[in-house]
Symmetry: C2
Subunit: 188 residues, 2 copies
Amino acid sequence: MSGLRERKKAETRRSLQEHALRLFAEKGYDATTVEEIAAAAGVSHMTFFRYFPSKPAVVENDDYDPMLAAAIRSRPPDEAPLTAIRHALVAALRAMPAGELSTVLARSRLIVREPTLRARQSEAQRATRQMFAESLAGRGALSDFERQVVAGAALAALTMAIEEWVRVDGRQELADLVECAMTSLTRE
Amino acid sequence: MSGLRERKKAETRRSLQEHALRLFAEKGYDATTVEEIAAAAGVSHMTFFRYFPSKPAVVENDDYDPMLAAAIRSRPPDEAPLTAIRHALVAALRAMPAGELSTVLARSRLIVREPTLRARQSEAQRATRQMFAESLAGRGALSDFERQVVAGAALAALTMAIEEWVRVDGRQELADLVECAMTSLTRE
DNA sequence: ATAATAATAGTTATCAGCTAACATTTACAC
DNA sequence: GTGTAAATGTTAGCTGATAACTATTATTAT
């Protein structure tokens, strides 16, 4: 698994992603063609599509979903659903090193500002919502439907927090914004 | 404004939309090309794009936004934000004639089932969210940010209700589903 | 070390959505 | 009726995405 082939693949993937993000930031998402990204990484456009199923996919990373789901599940079972999600999110964000957060900020900036990427993001969030909903199992005697609703609402709050985070260009802590957002949901 | 030209335009638009929805339902969204829709309506594909800015746009209708915003604004000012939105939505839905609801169901079916349309929908919802947020002005001493959060969460709940509505193929009242969804948010 | 093999990448062609430039038809106002 | 302006069609092109096929390159078994 660490042969030359594997390393080359990883390197190509990384290079494609890196050049893509750089070009998107430099000249805009729509103004950057897959052809250009591939050329910058020294491969053909077909290779791009072998590594990423679509142009927007090169920006996305769903790596946090399982971690967050686990964090929700490990909250005390008597906590209300939205409260459990809030604590899980805030704790996860506070535990995140600054370097990683700035990467997340860069990606988020792109996604929030490019309509095409936003649209994709909301589609990717369906999986996240599903995970959130499942990780609420057994909490507060909710039906499947109600769990989806709560998970969806929490994700909407998280999304709003991230958009605000991008708007203030990271000058407020994302964890604080998420805490504020989630609290304004439960405080009714 | 009711010259032959205007009438023809309205008729062309209606025809394009009608054939589009029919073809989408018959053979799927992706499998239906703009060319086919245009041909079915007896025009060229360029004419299609003169009437609708994009293929997905032919399915969308944002006609309800102003009505809903007004309904929210006219709720008693001491009602909590989520509660006000809930009552506004439920009242608007209960006042809707059955025929219109079945049209909404048909459109929703398409949108919920076609990933491409879902993605677009979520983008269109940004405008709806903005309207919801603005129509919450003065209610509950919320900041701009918090209003966006609450509006976003409410819309997420509405979306979940509509998805469930489609899932049960309209056999439950949408108003009831919305009421259930919104209530599960405030009940924490 | 080398040949067989399997993975990986490139080439080419094609399709669909979408836009632009230009020509042509058609309703309207006079 | 005729000129004008709107509406439509024609054609061509760009970009994202997929498929079929070929060529290259790393692995592996000898």
